[in-house]
């Protein structure tokens, strides 16, 4: 019975980790931006969903839609007001631009945290579950929302796979990740491709934020942890590698769940971090990373 519980709980957690980290790795792969405000985008989505659902009394699906819209909006603000101005600045030497973008997103994350503290306090909140109640699954009492969350997350990841591998937009995104200069020489507008990538990232962040908020709760104090978790998974899987991120998310999710059940909940994050250190020694590019 405990084994089945670990399987179900680990699957739900891993799926959310994967969805949460996917946008982070996608935007790094396509545009080379390591967005340290990533956790802030997820939390803004969750907090808006909570506010619309609880304070304004809207339906759970309406509040989820509002949260996703907020996630998309704040992601575009991140790109338009924080990342892009630094990337286009002539005052910053080209070689140092990535470092400046990194710093700018870090500071933007801190600003988002302060703003959320001011508006909502740092007390965590729980986003309304899309479906309430529990089901008895092979003898394990499990919230229905857990299954729905995993199903939505997998549907979103499937759609992303189709978009990236089966459409023209996807081809351009992949080409940008491999050789942006060549794409420019072929006459493609890189700015537009980047904007599309940030739009997809915004949707992913919005959906992930709302789903995580309904499962694990959310609040300004979650920002650093969510960014750190995405960072760990993406580095373990290989920066920029979508499939590596998926594999790493499941490795981390299951190791954490096993530790929590079999050793102690207080130590749940330790083994995954030890594994990360080991991978960085043996294979610094991550499991499926190329650079």
């Amino acid at each position: 019975m405990q084994a089945l519980q670990i399987l179900i709980d680990g699957f739900a957690i891993s799926t959310l980790y994967a969805l949460g980290a996917l946008g982070f790795t996608l935007i790094f792969g396509v545009s080379g931006v390591l967005n340290l405000a990533h956790g802030g985008l997820l939390v803004v989505s969750a907090m808006v969903a909570w506010y619309v659902g609880t304070a304004l009394g809207a339906d759970a699906w309406v509040s989820a839609a509002a949260g996703i819209a907020a996630g998309l909006a704040v992601t575009l603000v991140t790109y338009g007001a924080v990342v892009r101005p630094v990337q286009r600045s002539r005052a910053i030497p080209g070689a140092e631009r990535e470092l400046f973008v990194l710093t700018a997103t870090l500071l933007w994350g801190v600003m988002l945290q302060e703003l959320l503290d001011y508006w909502f306090s740092d007390t965590p909140v729980a986003v309304k579950p899309l479906l309430s109640g529990t089901v008895n699954f092979l003898g394990v009492r499990t919230p229905i929302n857990e299954f729905l969350t995993a199903a939505i997350a997998w549907a979103v990841m499937g759609l992303l796979w189709l978009l990236v591998n089966r459409t023209d937009i996807g081809k351009r995104l992949r080409a940008t990740a491999i050789n942006p200069r060549a794409l420019t020489l072929l006459g493609f507008d890189l700015e537009r491709i980047y904007l599309v990538a940030w739009l997809i990232y915004g949707l992913l962040a919005g959906i992930a934020g709302v789903l995580i908020g309904s499962f694990l709760g959310s609040g300004s104090s979650y920002i650093a942890g969510l960014t750190g978790s995405a960072f760990t998974i993406v580095v373990l899987g290989g920066l920029g590698s979508v499939s590596g991120t998926l594999i790493a998310a499941y490795i981390v999710g299951y190791i954490e769940t096993l530790t929590a059940y079999l050793v102690s909940p207080a130590l749940r994050e330790v083994p995954a971090l030890l594994l990360l250190i080991a991978v960085m020694y043996v294979r610094p590019q991550g499991l499926l990373g190329k650079r």
């Binding site: 405990q2 519980q5 709980d9 957690i13 909570w50 659902g53 609880t54 304070a55 503290d117 001011y118 306090s121 740092d122 007390t123 965590p124 909140v125 729980a126 986003v127 309304k128 579950p129 309430s132 529990t134 009492r141 499990t142 919230p143 929302n145 694990l216 709760g217 609040g219 300004s220 979650y222 942890g225 769940t257 929590a260 059940y261 909940p265 207080a266 749940r268």
Partner: protein, 413 residues
């Protein structure tokens, strides 16, 4: 006018001007504000409640003429739950703003870090939300140096005793006689857990296990699974830094064990919204409750608080409000804002506050300068969320509802 008359007239005019000047200075001195500082964790429910409780008390005291005719000037600083920020803020308010005393801090770790500075700077410090036993034990260990510190809330040992007392009256008669203690890993819960372990068996409850968890824990499923496997009738909580997530997951996963003990955030009316109503059926200890006349001052306070801030007060608002009145009375009594006079005045405190009768323990007591606990002083209350409202279920003489657990809590049947 002759020359002597001119001289006399000038002399009278000068004397009149001087007299007017002297009386103006005297009036100004009499009306010079008394500065009082507040250090609070402003982004948290208990921290915000500290600031609100202090603000409301100061507004009322000033409206009633201030302290011996002098208004209070309140300075509120956010310590961001950071010991460094709290110490800097404490030093600034003492040295720069010349605050005569400082109140606040709901995090024990923050209050413990500030205590040595209160002793060094001879700055009266009234801790109004933190609960570690060590706060008052620190004063007891070196009274002469540390007498400036007052624990204007209850040490965790008393909080545990209050929970045991209410469990005996409410839950043991319902045949709920086994518990697993589930506490966040923080300074205040160590004495709380020890208190639970000590007093629960005395009231007929067997402790089946103790689980401590990292306050950053987000997934409580493994913990609840572990608890369920022990088949207790109660989860005896020790939560203040966390609250929303374990409560929501308890309700969503329909954990069939009653959630009782201290879930400090559940003492605030804001908790219902934060948990989307998952707090229904949660029973928690508190020092006071909205709508319950623990003393004649309780309901007027909760009404005024609700009118001013749009929500019911969290536990730390009651203690801070009472502490501000105790401080004002001490200054008024001693007619001085000097540290030693304030200490002497506070030690003479014997007043009815919103939580009960307030008196600080003497230097020979184990918890020096902590509030007295027990019949005739502060006993605390137990509240339970029922249909979105906090109902008082204990002490039985003040109760306005009976305990009702959600249908999924099978242990209560």
């Amino acid at each position: 006018m002759s020359k002597p008359n001119i001289k006399r007239g000038a002399g009278i005019a000068l004397a009149a001007i001087l007299a007017a000047g002297v009386s103006t200075v005297a009036v100004q001195a009499a009306q010079k504000p008394i500065v009082i500082g507040v250090t609070a964790e402003m982004a948290t429910i208990p921290g915000k409640a500290i600031a609100n409780g202090a603000t409301l008390a100061v507004q009322q005291i000033n409206a009633a003429g201030g302290i011996n005719g002098r208004p209070i000037k309140l300075i509120i600083e956010d310590n961001h739950i950071s010991t460094t920020d709290a110490i800097r803020s404490f030093q600034r308010m003492t040295r720069q703003d010349h605050a005569v005393a400082i109140l606040g801090a709901f995090t024990s770790e923050v209050a413990l870090a500030v205590e040595p500075w209160s002793a060094r700077l001879h700055e009266p410090f009234l801790i109004t939300g933190a609960a570690s036993n060590k706060l008052a034990e620190y004063v007891h260990a070196d009274y002469a140096q540390r007498k400036y510190i007052f624990h204007a809330y209850l040490p965790a040992a008393y909080l545990a005793q209050a929970v045991c007392d209410s469990t005996k009256d409410l839950l043991v008669p319902m045949h709920m006689t086994t518990a697993v203690v589930l506490s966040e890993d923080a300074a205040w819960t160590k004495p709380l857990d020890a208190g639970y372990d000590n007093c629960l068996p005395k009231v007929g409850v067997k402790v089946l296990g103790n689980i401590r968890f990292d306050p950053n824990t987000t997934d409580f499923t493994p913990i609840y699974q572990k608890i369920e496997a022990m088949h207790p009738s109660m989860i005896m909580a020790g939560w203040a830094h966390v609250g929303v997530q374990p409560t929501v997951q308890w309700a969503e996963q329909k954990v069939p064990v009653a959630l009782v003990g201290i879930n400090a955030q559940a003492g605030s009316s804001l908790f219902w919204k934060a948990t989307n109503g998952a707090t229904e059926g949660v029973l928690t200890g508190n020092t006071s409750a909205p709508g319950v006349a623990i003393t004649p001052k309780t309901i007027p306070f909760t009404d005024a608080y609700n009118k001013a801030f749009g929500s019911d007060p969290a536990y730390s608002a009651y203690s801070t409000y009472d502490a501000m009145y105790a401080l004002a009375a001490a200054i008024k009594r001693e007619k001085s804002t000097k540290p030693n006079a304030i200490v002497a005045g506070l030690e003479k405190t014997d007043m009815v506050g919103t939580q009960g009768r307030l008196e600080f323990q003497g230097k020979s007591a184990k918890f020096t300068h902590a509030l007295r606990y027990g019949p005739g002083f502060i006993t605390g209350v137990a509240i339970q969320w029922q249909n979105g409202v906090q109902k008082c279920v204990w002490p039985l003489k003040l109760a306005n509802a009976k305990v009702v657990f959600p249908s999924f809590v099978t242990a209560s049947k």
